[in-house]
Symmetry: C2
Subunit: 201 residues, 2 copies
């Protein structure tokens, strides 16, 4: 009996936490980070502020939880070669930049990070999560001695995402297949051990 009751309570708590996180993310999408307050999350979700604060002690903690749950979730390819790992990740990122909600939300977090140290911390952890798959494929490529000498995993990660980020948030041009293919071709040329050996791709 006790177990069953605990189970029901756990489920209710779980549902309520989910509702809070979904509402937080919805507000983020609609109005950016300035649109998220514990008051507004409470009003819209119907969950009391006391309950929200019981799970997350601050607005930043709540934002962090909502973003960790709904943010970029990349699958890490392991195709056996740097070239196809890059291809797989670039196609996946291009796809997410075109349509994933986190792509519309990230600028708000970057902006907030300029002025608010707690949100800079949120940005740091989101960024680390976002880059993890790129670091992982680069580390494997280094073990396979596929990378051009002198490159660190962070260099590789930056080289893959920077042109796509630029296109998405700065030039705001469409990220079409032709562009993605061109980026992949350039990256493979630039990063792999055989770069600059005269073979034009």
């Amino acid at each position: 009996m006790i177990d069953e009751t605990t189970g029901a309570v756990d489920k209710r708590v779980h549902r309520s936490k989910q509702l809070i996180l979904t509402t937080t993310y919805e507000l983020l999408s609609e109005a950016g980070i300035d649109g998220v307050s514990v008051d507004e999350v409470s009003r819209r979700s119907g969950v009391s502020k006391t309950t929200i604060y019981r799970h997350w002690p601050s607005r930043s903690a709540l934002l962090m939880a909502a973003c960790s749950q709904a943010g970029p979730q990349a699958e890490v390819p392991n195709t056996g070669s740097l070239k196809s790992d890059i291809g797989a990740l670039a196609v996946q990122l291009a796809d997410q930049l075109r349509s994933a909600r986190w792509a519309a939300i990230l600028p708000s977090i970057i902006d907030a990070a300029e002025r608010d140290p707690e949100l800079a911390q949120l940005h740091r952890s989101l960024h680390a999560g976002l880059m993890a798959p790129y670091i992982a494929i680069a580390e494997r490529a280094i073990r396979r001695k596929e990378l051009a000498p002198g490159l660190t995993p962070a260099d590789v990660a930056a080289a893959i995402v920077a042109p796509l980020f630029y296109r998405r948030w700065f030039s705001r041009e469409p990220i079409d297949d032709q562009f993605v293919k061109k980026i992949i071709r350039n990256l493979v040329g630039e990063l792999s051990r055989n770069a600059r050996t005269g073979k034009k791709t």
Copy 2:
């Protein structure tokens, strides 16, 4: 007599416009774009809302004017070679990204552009202004046949700024001289006609 009076009025109008723009930019720096309202600009500058609206019909128009005046002002180098033009622009950009106020403000405009078409227009024109010097040096390099085949001026501009933008707003690592030198070396290798001819830099 009439001319003198007109002159004095012109001067006063000019001073008042400057005060409005400076105040707008100050608010942008402190609180991001959401912190800028005509009400707040009026309150802080002491200039009436009627006067502000007489010069700029909307908040977006005011933001546009403030950003155009205080935004990035790059000098376009014309050193005679792609390599040194890239070097000059990259050093200049790195310096601005480290300390210029526009670098702290741009994310707010990018964020707003995600949700507001008028501010997307503001972003578009700021971005075009920001990229103009890169386009200019690339066009000259094309005329001198220094660029690797198939590259457009926009490709060159993107290649120069993307790694620096990534570092400033995404990875938030320091943009130190060593990094800038590495970027310049990579860019010259990547963009110039002699790229991938086996000569490792």
